[in-house]
Symmetry: C2
Subunit: 373 residues, 2 copies
Amino acid sequence: MENILNTPLHDGFYMPGEFESHEGCILIWPARPGSWPYGARAARKAFVQIIRCIAESEKVYVAAGADVIENAREALFDIPGVTVFAAETDDAWARDVAPTFLVNGKGDRRCVNWEFNAWGGTYNGLYPSWERDNAFAKAFADDYGVPCYDASPFVLEGGSIHSDGEGTILATEACLLSPGRNPGLSKEEIEGRLFQYLGAKKVLFIPRGIYGDETDEHVDNVCAFIKPGEVVLAWTDDKNDPQYELSLESLRVLERERDAMGRKLTVHKLPIPDVPVCITQEDLKGFVFEPGEDVREAGERLAASYVNFYFSNGAVIVPAFGGDNRDSDRRAAEILRKLCPERRVVSVPARDILLGGGNIHCITQQIPNRAII
Amino acid sequence: MENILNTPLHDGFYMPGEFESHEGCILIWPARPGSWPYGARAARKAFVQIIRCIAESEKVYVAAGADVIENAREALFDIPGVTVFAAETDDAWARDVAPTFLVNGKGDRRCVNWEFNAWGGTYNGLYPSWERDNAFAKAFADDYGVPCYDASPFVLEGGSIHSDGEGTILATEACLLSPGRNPGLSKEEIEGRLFQYLGAKKVLFIPRGIYGDETDEHVDNVCAFIKPGEVVLAWTDDKNDPQYELSLESLRVLERERDAMGRKLTVHKLPIPDVPVCITQEDLKGFVFEPGEDVREAGERLAASYVNFYFSNGAVIVPAFGGDNRDSDRRAAEILRKLCPERRVVSVPARDILLGGGNIHCITQQIPNRAII
């Protein structure tokens, strides 16, 4: 692919909303022993359920390392529309390591390859080496045949941004201003990079994300566009919950701000699970951590949120946590059903994905269709 | 992928029959102006029909160059199970440039990357440069995640061999002993290479292929296994046809020889089209040849044969030539219907593929399933 010298903003490319039409979705078959306990067996079952649901309405591309690719093929062989391909990665977070796809409204697509440093590099990154993850986006773009802008050395993960497709980017200050990302850049300079590489006009910064989120509080776990002008926000009414202050601060910002088109935002509250989801001693025994890797501890509260859903063409695929959270699982699905009447809402048991540190949105990355508007 | 030091024969891998179960099929989107007249428009229509038929019973992987990949995606977007991916090639002959896949009967797969020199290199090759075609097999194997043996510098094309999956390889002397392939090797040494790289025990050499076949008479245009012990042979009863002597010579060999298992072969005659298929002045105007490329001439007889079919899991996809050959098209389909009662026989108008120099078998390459026997 020829080098692209300009930036997406200059060339008329922008990031569409996830709620717009997709050609497909990228995932990575989970294998890392420090993320997925007990040989990733339970996680893979959850991945299969999610892939099956996505494949009903879009193509699915599943990357797998050489040592697990035949396992992936075997698990997925009966799902039409799934392509398994070989790629070595450090873990399974396609949202953060796959390219961010852009369109220009004239039928062309391009994408962005961000610098990836495992959510904080040597400052507070989660694993000691991330070269394979960092190489994934460019390799995928080349294989897929979509020209790729190189945003390096600007550090960003796909999970730290949402776009409304009309010029507004949603992000958290906690993540984008974290010293582990781009410590040499001011907030204004970071905004400038998002304008340039996402073809955006305004960045809506909310201060915080989900309590305990080890990504420095990615926006995709706390707040998401349902459509232009409307967001869902992870919420709790329990003033004693550490999430309360975080969500309240963000709500105040969202109620005050306007988007790139000058609209006031409608904010729908999406309550977090009733009961904290925590790591058990039994979970812990299944992990195998390597030196320098962030480790888990028994009793640790996981960053469980229903906002970490994926919009496929036909469905909203929402995490469910089960156990004492069956009621809140149902409540979350109900709220999304009302907000997205044109899609099927599918709850997938996802505690086994949360154990890895993220959720359904974190393991997926959409490839938009070539929009012509 | 780690280097593989031994050979398939040593490691217990062999080439299954094409009539055995497939996981998928590889094709390349046609674009070369010296092969596909009038911007490949008619050829692409034929490719779409073939891909549609294959995709009914196996996955289809379609490689496309950067300049035509969005055209390929548009043409194929509505066919479930088709993956379009980016790869630069010199032309569209997946049979000859994609890897040859092997199995070991224990659930493992590997493949072979042969040296490719455009059917004869500087001696009588068909295009002046073939680096991109030669690089395709290894790149595909890596992307697909199947370990790949490197047979280089041994020159071979997938269309010059057939396997019965039980140790017998079928080939023509005209091709394999041509000075444009491996001039430094004796016939016995060439057989030895086929034993090593295809896990075979016997090479059944027939002398000749189809009259005028510019591949030096690939076996896949003249003779194919229907199952172990049974072949179809392109045939004519017209003693004045230049094909008559060629087919008769091959028939004599096939009737005399035994396969690797010691079986006598059953030979089914598959008559060639009644009327020679020739290049017209109108066809010729649509080609754009580059310097050093083999050119076509008006009136030139093309190497039309019904043996150049593809066995998909569910079908035999057979070329049809139309015009004055409607009767022979029907006759060929009838013969294959009787020989393959468990498959659908689908005739696809393929004159526009033949114009490129090959046919349905030449543009496809199967990926077998991981056999466990």
